[in-house]
Amino acid sequence: MKFIAEINVMPLKNLLDPQGKAVTKSMTNIGFHEISNVRIGKHITLEIEAESKEQAMEKVNEACNKILANPIMEGYEYTVRQA
């Protein structure tokens, strides 16, 4: 069966996110005074062949740990659904 995973990789909360900081400033500059604390990460989608949703989730988790995210600087979360 084919599954689709949607993965969000975000910089860890305690680390400075310079990109997010620059965008937060720009929000104020263009009038969005109610917007603060912009943080920017990555959204990754991928297709995966697996026998079950559980197996697909396990593989996605493995891929996140191995290469898609670096635990020293990033956290991740994902959802898996059948394609």
Binding site: L15, L16, P18, K21, I67, L68, I72, M73
Partner: protein, 237 residues
């Protein structure tokens, strides 16, 4: 005595390193292609700067799984000398051969200029000929150079004297004002606990030729060459 220089797709300081080792330092150098799984009898391996795999995903993340890296990890675990410069440093961190990670510069700009660094530990194979009171003027050129390691790791690194270089001013003063990228504790280079794997963001290969008018990087290569030579003698005995 032979130095292996790894070439990844996107490496762009490979020939600078080869030139310095070969022409300036008069050493035997061999090019190591990232797809090779053979270090071609290298006594030390250098991972040069550049943008391996376009820096996609994270700087060094994809290069870290190149076939040559498996051999480099084995070589490092046996005590072989490995030096990563700039992107090479990022790759070694991604591979887990060095602690910590290199994050986007705190100002979100690519920074390319001469800076000063001072050795924090001058008793390692890479820094043995350096003077702790003599800052070196060496260029940096990177966008992801903000060294970071969690506090516990930093404490261990301090205890093991794994911090190689810190950014400073021309008099050797270390302060936030001369930190070019927001690195924690002004760290510009580190080594592993066994002191055979080294990583640094500044480019000593761009400061080793008289023609460039800046030669402070040469002593780093001289230290490494001496260490490799000493090691060969001790292993052959």
């Amino acid at each position: 005595m032979r130095f292996g220089v790894v070439i990844f797709p996107g490496s762009n300081c490979d020939h600078d390193v080869i030139y310095v080792l070969n022409e300036v330092m008069e050493q035997d150098v061999v090019e190591l292609w990232h797809k090779d799984a053979d270090l071609k009898k290298s006594d030390a391996v250098i991972l040069p700067g550049g943008f391996s795999y376009g820096d996609y995903l994270r700087a060094g993340a994809i290069a870290r799984y190149s076939p040559i890296m498996e051999k480099i990890i084995e070589f490092a675990k046996r005590g072989g000398f490995v030096l990563g410069i700039c992107n090479g440093f990022q790759i070694l961190c991604e591979a887990g051969l060095l602690p910590g990670a290199l994050l986007h510069n705190n100002h979100q700009k690519f920074v390319c200029k001469n800076i000063y660094i001072v050795p924090d530990n001058n008793a390692t194979p890479l820094t043995s000929m350096l003077d702790k009171n003599k800052p070196l003027k060496i260029p940096i050129a990177h966008k992801e150079g903000r060294y970071y390691a969690p506090n516990d790791d930093l404490m261990t690194m301090r205890q093991n004297h794994q911090i190689l270089f810190r950014y400073c001013d021309k008099n050797g003063e270390i302060s936030e004002a001369v930190n070019p990228n927001g690195s924690v504790e002004n760290i510009a280079g580190v080594c592993n606990a066994a002191k055979n794997v080294f990583g640094m963001m500044p480019h000593p290969e761009r400061a080793a030729d008289d023609e460039l008018g800046i030669t402070d990087g040469r002593i780093i290569f001289e230290s490494l060459i001496r260490a490799v030579k000493d090691k060969r003698i001790s292993t052959s005995n």
